[in-house]
């Protein structure tokens, strides 16, 4: 716990971190490719070039890698969304454009969505996993919710449902569309998401002057 030689210690830690990272990456890749259930720890360890024991030196179970992946996933999305989040000084048009850009990103991220679906499925079956999962999910949901909230506030309109719910609905739509993906048809996900968003805006009532504040306040 103290240093003998800082460099040596670090090398060890680094090597361990590398092993862990490689295992996570391989696990992600295989989970996406074959599904969580169909991926064995043997597969992960073999493909990553380690023994099964190495896996258990780094994770306590298969579920544990899934959780680790979930955490990284969360971080990545948070970063990704902060671009759209940090939009106080933008016009509604700019925000919509950015959202569209983000939506089109999803097109190239179907693998990711598939894994996200697996995560949700697994959460529905494993109590222990569900608890951890719910935390991450709720956080993500409210992040997107706040983007939605800001957008409607900018437009001076009332969202036709709770922003968090709308956020969840958009994620549901994204995941559901990813699931439908086939090679025989071009993926219309991004476009359809925007169509739905424009629909929501179109059906939203205009707020009176006092409301934008409230919305902001409610969102905190």
């Amino acid at each position: 716990m103290s240093q003998k030689t800082a460099r040596k210690r670090l090398t060890r830690e680094e090597s361990q971190a590398q092993t862990r990272e490689r295992l996570i990456e391989t696990a992600q890749h295989l989970f996406v490719l074959h599904g969580y259930g169909a991926t064995s720890i043997r597969d992960i360890a073999d493909k990553a070039g380690y023994s099964q024991g190495a896996f258990y030196s780094n994770f306590s179970s298969k579920e544990d890698v899934l959780l680790e992946f979930l955490r990284q996933h969360m971080e990545a999305e948070a970063t990704q969304l902060s671009n759209v989040m940090d939009s106080d000084e933008r016009t509604p048009e700019q925000m919509l454009a950015e959202l569209e850009a983000w939506a089109s990103t999803l097109n190239h991220d179907a693998d990711w969505c598939m894994l996200s679906i697996e995560l949700q499925l697994h959460a529905n079956r494993s109590q222990t996993f569900a608890i951890e999962y719910q935390k991450v999910w709720d956080e993500h949901r409210s992040e997107i919710g706040s983007v939605v909230s800001k957008l409607f506030a900018k437009l001076g309109r009332t969202p036709p449902a709770e922003p968090d719910e709308l956020a969840a609905a958009f994620m549901a739509l994204t995941h559901g569309l990813a699931l439908q993906r086939v090679t025989t048809r071009p993926d219309p996900s991004g476009r359809l998401i925007m169509v739905f968003l424009h629909g929501l805006i179109a059906s939203a009532g205009f707020v009176d002057k006092a409301l934008p504040m409230d919305v902001k306040a409610a969102h905190k």
Copy 2:
């Protein structure tokens, strides 16, 4: 188990059909309850009161029951939708009301949706299954598409995307929302689906009525 009389042949066929049906029902039930992957053929056979051999006398593999189940699934949905389909003489308001009723049905059918998701996931992994699956799926998609199409026609508006795509999007939304269900929150699926539908209607056709200039501009 009782008669070995002249009616033997008929009885035998009937009994076989019964065996098959019971196995499918049990399989459905267990797939929904524990998922496709977590359900073993032993489980199915045991719970249905037959031997594993009986299973293999009726189905060639686990995937085969899944396919059989898929076919029945399709039939059921077709019947269910024919109510909304047969709507030539109804007013748009009636159609919307019926769609709303149908959407709220989904609330109580999340198990079903979960299995549907499993089916889609499995189709993404198994080539042979994917082919069968795609047929069923496309048919279903175009059925709902035609409902959407009729609805917009009744309203004298132009759908903001291909009806089939919109149908697919609604199914994606439904499935995605089912996946998000947790016991800790009331399920807003039906309501959200209607919010999105009203949004689409609002953004369609008579622009001067519902769609503000700025949004329209952004909509390129």
Copy 3:
């Protein structure tokens, strides 16, 4: 469950019984040779000439074979003891001679004792096993106890402790001595057991005329 052809059915059942019996025998052998803990199901199945799955078709777990063995063990001992038990018309001298013969039997049965020790050890660690084990053990204990009781009654003496306790003590002695066995020394077990038995008799008080009945009655 009914007969197609009695012979065929029987052949199947027989074959299954054979498999089961072979597995039990092999398990016994290996448990004795290497100990319960050190014997793997793989070992048992391999040595018996079956797959591991065959093992699990016949037993639900490793503990289950141990229990099955225990049951057979019990039956064998019961039969073995019934010779000494059925001794109402014998003289005390005859009973002692038979007990001595029985004790010398133990010499050739050290393997058996070793396994018995393993059983007891395992019962001390597995709650589920302990319950089954205790039943068998108590029965066996009281069987031997009744032999002890009869012997003292015949001799017109009062046992210096409860017959069941004395029985347990003799079994403890037998097991303990089996454990001490080494190839470098001849095994004195049978002889020592008789020495202790004679000691007990020597130290036992004479009963008055009324008592032999009581002892018999108490033993039921």
Copy 4:
């Protein structure tokens, strides 16, 4: 963990001895608690607060700790028995009382007996261990044997078998009874051991006093 001063060498040796001692203690504790087979080196190291590597710096294998433990076991028992051994000036009654006290001690030491049994079992399986074990065992056996010998000498009687054999038999009895211990019955070990000892005394030496004719005849 604190000093890196001039006394380093000494401190180091001490610290190493401490490590070793703690590992042995922990191992003993866990062996008794869960058995030799069920205790892993990781468990020992973790519980003792060291790494697995530390274990291998002090012992060459799991069997090695067992041997080390055996040596300490031996020392402890030798000390314990020297009280009874050093009994030249005592009366036979005092010796018996002390033996009784010692026997009742065993009641509270069943864990210890269990481990002793494990040791014997392991010796039956491991050649290398058996050799070491036999040395310790024989020494212990003859120590107790000499106590027995002295006791009979004091009483002016002839032991009914070799003192060493009688000693071994008493240890066998003790171990066997420890094995039978269950929570549902009070443990009669100490009492039974004394019953047997009194029996031996009664059957020894002055035949005219204690041994009836018929029994004597049967005793060939």
